[in-house]
Amino acid sequence: MKKFLRKYGLDFVAIPVGLFIFAAPFILIFLTASKNSKESFQFNFQLGEKFLLWKNIKTVLGTNDGVVIRAFINSTILTVVSVTLIVFVSSMAAFVFARRPGKLTTFANIMVLAGLVVPPAVVPTIWVLQRLHLFKTMQGLIFIEVAYSAAFSILIYKGFIASIPKEIDEAAAMDGCTGFALYRRIIFPLLMPVNVTIIVTTSVAIFNDFTNPLYFLPGNENATVQLTLFYFQSAYLTQYNLLFTDILLITIPPLIVFIIFNKKIVSGLTAGAVKG
């Protein structure tokens, strides 16, 4: 008995406590999402009289001529295009930073580091976007997301590229593979583990981004999923069941990403982050 306790005792404490602290809010989301509007005001951990999740999902998707569906399409476009750009742009930039030392690179490095710390200035950015006729457009927001995620991605890529031996470059150069071909054929395929990390972390961050769409893409037409939450939360009448159905819906894409990449997230992130 004593041996058994030593072996499993910690588990018996840790699993329930961990579940209680980290899973209870999600259970609440699910339960509230399946109640009717009156029951949802009780905020409790009980199922309602009827299980109304499917009906609530239909109501949410039908609100405001399907604003939630449009938001899902918008968010998908935003996430997919931005992440694709980020992967190519930052890995190319990191390749140059890691392989071509010099004053210009040092300066560019400092600028990238600054991008990690400096909080974005909103009004000047809007001014620039307006001059470029990109304000309130999806393209504009995509550029913003790419620019804001670039610093972090370049840093991770750079750390990883620095660990690729230079001899590989030299061997390729001997065979006449230089410049862009070197990046495309030799370096980029080696970056696959980091690519997974970058794709997972930035896609989740952009999908969940609230602040940038709020500032740079206002208006119902262009709503992204995070902004739709505020349709169901208003000062006068918050329909908690619909609000939580919406939360449940927008949690599904990250959940899928999480299930697929669970193991790789942790290993990839740590490969780049701490060694730096």
Binding site: F22, F45, V117, V118, I126, F210, L255, F258, V274
Partner: protein
């Protein structure tokens, strides 16, 4: 530094900055931003390290618990904010109901604290607590990597010399996870000082201005059409972040070289 409508402006010197500093609600913003940053990054260090030690230890369900701890990182901040604001509802929220019924069972009359509506600093701490709940997964992962890079021989040597669990932690683990600590502190400090969406979803900066941080004040100015003030606020926030992160960064770098 100019007074804006979006299309024409004229120069007003530093007027926006002086006006920004004059408003009383803004002084609260500075204090709150600093408190928020310190509390969140401090708690993330403590809980992140504790969880990492637990999850690299003897536990059988390591993999499962790792996933459970990391999952909130991936969920919508606004969604988490709304969920916790009903958990923390003063009358109907599950947390206060539990406190009230626990109070009854030991004969103690209480209504439970007003987590998000209390007229003191409590709402800010409540939001900071949710921030830690959501973000501790990243800290844990960073610490797990840090712990994995500590050579096992050190622990063996200590065991030979007869050191206990506390010596192990105090003399080997803590000094050698320093790079991970630096990463956690700097990342969560930067995030904490700039944080906006969680506060916006949970308290809207309220009650009054009591849980406003610089970023939420800036948004309020922007929303009200004071573009000059909002931009001045952005610049102030930038210097605020640099002024705090600079020394922190320097402190961790210096110590690393000594070691």
């Amino acid at each position: 530094m100019t007074r804006w409508t979006l299309f024409d402006w004229h120069f007003v010197g530093f007027e926006n900055f002086t006006q920004y500093f004059k408003e009383a609600s803004l002084a609260i913003g500075f204090k709150n931003t600093l408190i928020y940053g310190v509390v969140t990054s401090g708690l993330k260090v403590v809980f992140g390290l504790a969880l990492a030690l637990l999850l690299t230890g003897r536990l059988r369900a390591k993999g499962f618990l790792r996933s459970v701890v990391y999952f909130p990182v991936l969920v919508s901040t606004i969604g988490v904010g709304f969920t916790f604001s009903i958990l923390m509802d003063p009358n109907y929220g599950a947390i206060n109901k539990a406190i009230v019924s626990f109070g009854k069972s030991i004969g103690w009359e209480t209504y439970g604290p007003g987590w998000l509506v209390d007229p003191n600093l409590l709402p800010l701490f409540s939001v900071a607590f949710v921030d830690v709940w959501k973000g501790v997964g990243i800290a844990t992962v960073l610490y797990m990597a840090g712990l994995a890079s500590i050579p096992q021989e050190y622990y063996e040597a200590l065991a030979v010399d007869g050191g206990g669990a506390w010596d192990k932690f105090r003399n080997i683990t803590l000094p050698l996870v320093r790079p991970a600590t630096a990463a956690v502190v700097i990342l969560s400090f930067i995030g904490g000082l700039r944080s906006f969406d969680l506060i916006w979803a949970m308290t809207n900066g309220g009650p009054g201005f009591l849980s406003d941080v610089i970023a939420s004040i800036n948004y309020k100015q922007y929303q009200a059409g004071f573009y000059g003030l909002a931009t001045a606020g952005n610049v102030i926030l930038l210097f605020f972040v640099l002024a705090i992160i600079g020394p922190v960064y320097w402190f961790f770098n210096k110590k690393e070289k000594e070691a």
